[in-house]
Amino acid sequence: MERADGRRPGEIRIVRCERGLLSRADGSAQWTQGGTSCLASVAGPTQAPTSAKEDAERATLEVVFKPRAGLVGSTEKQYEALIRRSCEAVILAALHPRTLIQVVVQVVSDDGGVLACALNAACAALVDAAVPLRTLCAAVSMAQEAGPEGQLLLDPSAAEAAAAAAVGTFAYLPLLHSVSEEVSAAGDSISGGDLQLLTSLTRGRLTSDQLLDMVEAGRQGADRLAAFMQQAARQV
């Protein structure tokens, strides 16, 4: 069944990624998905300003999330923490000990899925700043419509998310697929399947099967986003 904006349930809105928009930052990227857009900038690795932010073993990551309007509340704090922990998983932080990498994400416009968009923007900006990364991280938002006939919607708009029974934001490491297979061939059984779910945040009520379908469908969306991000990273 078609959605209000003419998309199929598993279709992502039109994605755009522009890099190097800010001249004063070490790296920047604007990630746009339909009506949602985030601008991320990266400063660093630079010397940590205080010893509290300095780690003798690795680079410290600091994330600031700026909403489009209004004050920073606990939602923004949660987003900051999720973006930070997700990026920490991809940055090769041990290469720059005692330094600070600062990521600032500014929401430009919000039409649903702002956390996923911010995560993608942050990852693209890290690529633009040439911070050494282990792999790319791609995030999607998902919505489960209410009712027994409810569909699973990829990349919902704000209206779709508000009407849904449950919504979720998931970040994956889709490009790690082949690597983990090599690792498991070497006798390591940690990774198991190849969902590669890095970060998850859900809201609303789901059944177990709906959750599993959601993370699986999200993974397929993230595959496409990661391929796009890789392509965007190759362009000068």
């Binding site: 704090k77 998983a89 198991g192 969902l195 809201r203 009520r205 177990s208």
Partner: protein, 303 residues
């Protein structure tokens, strides 16, 4: 030869590895067992409802305070619920007095999201007189001892406090002032205790909760799932997953914040199943605590 505690301090990772490889935890638990959990209700006499929850040595106190507020214009038939988590400076070495820490803000957001997303408290129940007055509930959560799996303990404390909450029957008089029905203003607390003795007493009304969310935090270490990790284990875990389920087995939240390993489909499933088992256990404990509190109130009431 190193002493065990010296070894633990010097090589915490190796110390934990040696245990986990044997399928046992440093505190003697098997990998899939949560710590002993206790729920105490009505521990703060000045609060309208309160609960003290201990999961192992993780200790959380939740209190609910009810106030009457004028109805809000855009939702005239709804009350308000405000939740605030505070990490007391004494709860762990990294907590400091002063501004709320990031950890406290995260817990607040997590719990608010769960209560809101799952529809635990229907705000229309908090209505006193549509368009005129409604209840404002302030839920304060204090973490007294942070020894891992904080979200599980905080959520259980909030759930226990809200389950034991009884709202006074109040009416609005012509001047718009609030009158507590049939309960004299002086010594209201004592009267409330007496009224609680009579189940279904007209002066007091229990909130009916939309569902009973229970969280379970699981850690991943060496490819194994550690249920209900302690703070010591949490510092070393490769990743942490928190699943929140209701009594019917519906999933109200699945939270994972990065980590050095990703989760597979089986891992997600494993964590959800563990949370469902834990939910049954915790629901039982909560029911027991509520029954006990009701029995104690009945015994204390003057005949």
């Amino acid at each position: 030869m190193l002493q065990a505690d010296a070894f633990q301090r010097l090589y915490p990772d190796k110390y934990l590895t040696k245990f986990i490889e044997q399928g046992v935890r440093p505190d003697g638990r098997p990998l899939s067992l949560a710590r002993a959990t206790s729920i105490g209700l009505g521990v703060v006499s000045t609060a309208d409802a309160s609960a003290l929850v201990k999961i192992g040595s993780t200790t959380v106190l939740a209190g609910v305070k009810c106030e009457v507020m004028p109805a809000v214009a855009d939702a005239p038939d709804e009350g308000r619920l405000t939740l605030q988590v505070e990490l007391a400076p004494l709860c762990c070495s990294s907590a400091r007095p002063g501004r709320p820490s990031e950890a406290a803000a995260l817990l607040t957001e997590q719990l608010e999201g769960l209560l809101e997303g799952a529809g635990v408290v229907d705000r229309r129940q908090l209505c006193i007189d549509p368009g005129k007055a409604a209840w404002a509930l302030y839920v304060d959560v204090y973490v007294l001892d942070a020894d891992g799996s904080l979200q599980d303990a905080c959520l259980l404390a909030v759930l226990a406090a809200l389950s034991s909450l009884q709202l006074h029957a109040v009416t609005l008089d012509d001047a718009g002032n609030i009158q507590k029905a049939a309960v004299p203003d002086a010594g209201a607390a004592a009267a409330a205790a007496a009224a609680a003795a009579v189940p279904g007493s007209p002066q007091l009304r229990r909130l009916s909760l939309g569902c009973q969310p229970v969280s379970l935090t699981c850690g991943v270490y060496l490819g194994r799932l550690l249920v209900d990790p302690t703070a010591e284990e949490e510092a070393l875990l490769e990743a942490q997953l928190t699943a929140t389920v209701d009594a019917e087995g519906g999933i109200l939240g699945f939270y994972k914040a990065g980590g050095s390993v990703t989760a597979s489909q089986q891992r997600v499933q494993q964590c959800v199943e563990a949370a469902k088992l834990r939910s049954k256990e915790v629901q039982g404990l909560l029911q027991q605590a509520l029954d006990q509190a009701a029995a104690a109130a009945a015994a204390a009431a003057p005949s």
